[in-house]
Subunit: 356 residues, 4 copies
């Protein structure tokens, strides 16, 4: 198929439809409202369900219900809206249901602003809801990758029967890039024989997250735990940039910030400062072991984020205490410039350090 020029938000919407994500619930909030707008028009054409609910709490419980009925259900929102879904996400994970949640992150906390941010890393990766659950977290850094990740998100949600979060930001949502909607070829999925589809003739299916017997509840926790361990073995994804040659510094960045880092690295290379990048494309599971390996060759590691430093802890955890881990970040919706990143790298090489 030919490439078309699309906004990230629209590419996400179109790709989700092509992946069979035909059950969509939403509540408007900048900067993700174009997804809803696009789907308001497209869903009737493809026979899908589009529903704007009365709040994000309602959205998240509709997601729970539709997922339980076997639909490929999904939603998009932005940071404060996602916070309102924390209870339901925990329920969906506990009931082992598939669901896809796209967070086009805006700057926070609170109402914050409508500009891009990476300030919801902890919420997505450490699971902002209650109890022991995890979401698979995907982080695209281009419109094409955002489009590519939607079919993957739906497939893995179904395969693991677990919520999958796609973390974008206002930059990826708003910018236009050429995008191609590819054919995907995932292995067959098991039938959704657990879904509450109406039980004519068979035993009723029950969707539940209440287990009052502690032994049974512990079993649930351990079954979930085994699933997350499997994700850690099988779902780690990342991109490496300039790791095939010698480097003095290793940057770690995802999403929009990783694009900035690549430009910064190119500029530093012109100054003969060799820098490499590890770009996680899954935030959970985090490429912990690969990061450790790559960190060995570097003088220091630097996490670059549009936040006060959230992925930073996962970077430090991977690298250990024997190698310096620095941080460079901008906040408030300000995308760091390549110059700023390059300067931060150089200041640490000089031993001057750099403010975050």
């Amino acid at each position: 198929m030919a490439k078309v020029l699309m906004k990230g938000n629209e590419a996400i919407a179109e790709s989700a439809i092509r992946a069979g994500g035909l059950c969509y619930f939403c509540y408007p909030l900048t900067p993700q409202s174009e997804v809803a707008e696009y789907l308001a028009r497209r869903m009737p054409e493809v026979g899908g369900a589009y529903l704007q609910a009365e709040s994000e709490v309602a959205v998240s419980n509709m997601l729970y219900g539709a997922a339980g009925a076997g639909a490929r259900a999904w939603t998009t929102s932005s940071s404060p809206g996602i916070s309102l879904m924390m209870e339901a996400l925990s329920y969906i994970a506990a009931a082992e249901l598939p669901a896809v949640v796209v967070n086009i992150v805006r700057t926070g906390p609170g109402l914050g602003g409508i500009l891009p941010s990476q300030g919801d890393y902890n919420q997505a990766v450490k699971s902002g809801g209650h109890g022991d659950y995890r979401c698979l977290v995907l982080a695209p850094s281009s419109v094409q990758e955002a489009a590519d990740m939607m079919p993957l998100a739906f497939d893995r949600a179904d395969r693991y029967r677990n919520p999958v979060i796609v973390v974008g930001d206002g930059m990826i949502g708003q910018m236009m890039e050429p995008v191609e909607f590819k054919q995907w070829d995932f292995p067959p999925l098991p039938a959704k024989d657990w879904a509450t589809t109406g039980c004519k003739g068979r035993k009723p299916n029950v969707v539940n997250s209440l287990f009052l017997d502690p032994k049974a509840e512990e079993q649930v926790n351990r079954r979930l735990g085994a699933k997350y361990a499997q994700m850690k073995r099988e779902e780690v994804r990342f991109e490496e940039y300039r790791t095939e040659r010698a480097y003095r510094v290793l940057l770690v960045a995802y999403g929009t910030t990783a694009r900035v880092c690549k430009t910064a690295i190119q500029r530093l290379a012109q100054e003969n400062v060799e820098v490499a990048l590890l770009r996680p494309t899954t935030l959970f599971p985090f490429p912990e072991e690969r990061l450790f390996e790559l960190s060995r060759a570097a003088e220091f590691v630097m996490s670059v984020e549009m936040s006060m430093g959230q992925m930073l802890d996962d970077v430090r955890l991977a690298v250990g205490r024997d190698k310096p881990v620095h941080f460079f970040g901008r906040q408030g919706g300000i995308v760091p410039s390549p110059e700023e990143v390059a300067d931060a790298v150089k200041s640490h090489l000089d031993g001057r350090g750099a403010g975050a």
Copy 2:
């Protein structure tokens, strides 16, 4: 004052009143409902405000409103109810308002069960809401300590103008122990001249978390960041147990689990296996540096939790990669027994390892 025998939930309620926590909002949920019951009776006696709202979302926004008006506002809930407060907690932190939230944690995820758990560590410590904010997190392990921590929570909330979370569990909430309500002597607090108390004659105060100008929003993020850095310097609290003598193993545990660990340590000592315990009483900030120091003398460190291992990452972060960090946990509301903990320690000493 003489000691009285009280349930933990009641001690929390009474202590909060004595600390001036006279504005209380709630929604019933086991296992924290005794707090609400107690206060329904006591609040009218002390001229306080008691309000059972229509949901935890409403509760958390009332907390936001009352805090903005300068009240010592607080709530209690349990895990799923706390998840519904994530949006408002982020708003309260962003607007730099004081508020105290007590989470009597039950087992999750989802509806889970009503038995004790430590499965909301990440939510409390990594901040389950959106954006860059942190809560000071206190973790009592006895009824007395729960009572003691309420005045501290209110004081620190006011002092930092930031939400404080007290993480209990059903065990602490339900068990009866002798408790003494002490006199506290905190340094004077600044006047709440930012509160929206009605602006007769002065310039109106505005409580806000929306900052559309990215420079202004970045300033907010950095001001908050400076506050959390100050907490890390000044608010780290922990208890050490048997660290003054030589030990082969260092346990890390908080709350109910720490009590179990102490018994396990006593039993192991009778078998001449010397084990020490670091019990964080603040989960954020985490006693990272002290844990690192104490870990140096141990053959390995073991985090003991009623979860699948959440504090574990903070323990690993503190210890680094050069010293084994093991985990022992029970889930589903099952409190680990001292024997289980002791066995887990011995199995790692034997090199057999232990399942979690």
Copy 3:
């Protein structure tokens, strides 16, 4: 088509589908929940939309939204649930949108009980919401008539662009009777060119009920008033029973109560007491003029209701002050027996009067 034996609630559901009522919102409440159950199964088969919302307030606003988009949208509920829709019904009427609301009335006020009642007459007929609006109100007294009235309700809702209420009761909803789904042949309806269907190429349609300019708002009120005047001219419906012969007494009753009255009349006829019945099948507009005419020949008129006397005022209004108007009613879910009704008639003929 052959007759099938069906519950009233199911006949309403099936008939609505056949009338194109493919957009259904609901919230469960006895004694109307079978409608929702039936449609949960049937809607997917016919490609319709079935949505159980989070409350009746949500239902009524979804109705408003779907109606505005041009759908044949409808809901069913029972008394307390209908009360929660009063605001939205006023909005729907003000915005001149079609919608069908079925109220399977239960006994009230408050939670009341789940047995049949006619206690919501005033709410339906006098318009329980705010402002000058009216709903066309249909009142079936058999399963067949309930089925027949659904296509009529949808047609008139579209034709008048106004909400239509179908007032049933638990008796009609729960009893099984043979029903035939007839072919209907209504005159063509105007195109819904006012609907917000996405405005590609045309001027956007606006659905609105806010008119801040008093002249414009007065115009709206008068346009609505003209519509209700037209209903009064063209939509009055009723059944007469034994009015073709001489009678001493005229009963007025609708729904289940009218069936009881017919049996009472038959028994009274065996005692040579001639009684006639006027059964309104539209409650708004009320058959005021016909009732006045029929009342001339009677010694007195008696309104028979499962309420404390609500239609009674409309009966008195029609009859005037020069002819006695009596009332007989049972409440609390008790369906009056034919004997009770006959006794009440005879006691008034005897001049003894009868308690209600």
Copy 4:
């Protein structure tokens, strides 16, 4: 006490406080928001409870709860907000609890406009909620009368254990007039021994509106019915104007419209057209018998309303069919002028009739 110049909304607020209405719930909506503003400042001064809830649905259920606990609980809102309270009002009446609801009516239906209206007559008088219940409905036509009616409303609510509605309009709410807060001397009220005040030592009180046994529910309906019959005997209130001399025409009007009618009557008198006015100050119970008596002397009766004609039916019901009943109204927030009213009177006297 000396008179002070106050807005109607403020006079209502102040008078309610002096009457002990110390438990106030609200949600902002023009044109009644000054009541809330005033009370936000005053309630803390008098130790009362002021709570802005998350919606009018929440407000009305808080009213239910506070009334059940024995408080003098009240709220104010405007038309759409009042519609959202219909369910709870029915519950409050069914549970036989006192509550005062002030409706500063704005023009409708729907969002309508913010100007004065009398379009909620039916909702208030015919009881917009479900089931057989009635509210005592008071209708002031001046700021002084609005102030006077608040103590009466609270007294009667307590005395009858039934909701009382005070129907104002934007005109009365917004205009400033001199007002005196009088001392009231009502007979002693029975103790609220049914209130859920905490049952130390006594049998628990239960506040309930669910009666599944039809006999019990019928008893509830009849007990309520007896209460409303008592209101009809004892609570009918009205003012007569120029009924002591001969008149050709009788106007019926309440609230702001009645003031306009008085001016119109004065002007008509100068033209030697004698007209009298009956001004109901209770809308339920309606002064039906007095209206009938007064109508005997008139050539015709005319109902003057800021609506499409809602009180009109009660006027027609009282007058009967043997005397013409005309209607004059303005809508959309337009207050009729005395000239318009006078012209309408004269046109009917001329036999020309008048448009509404």
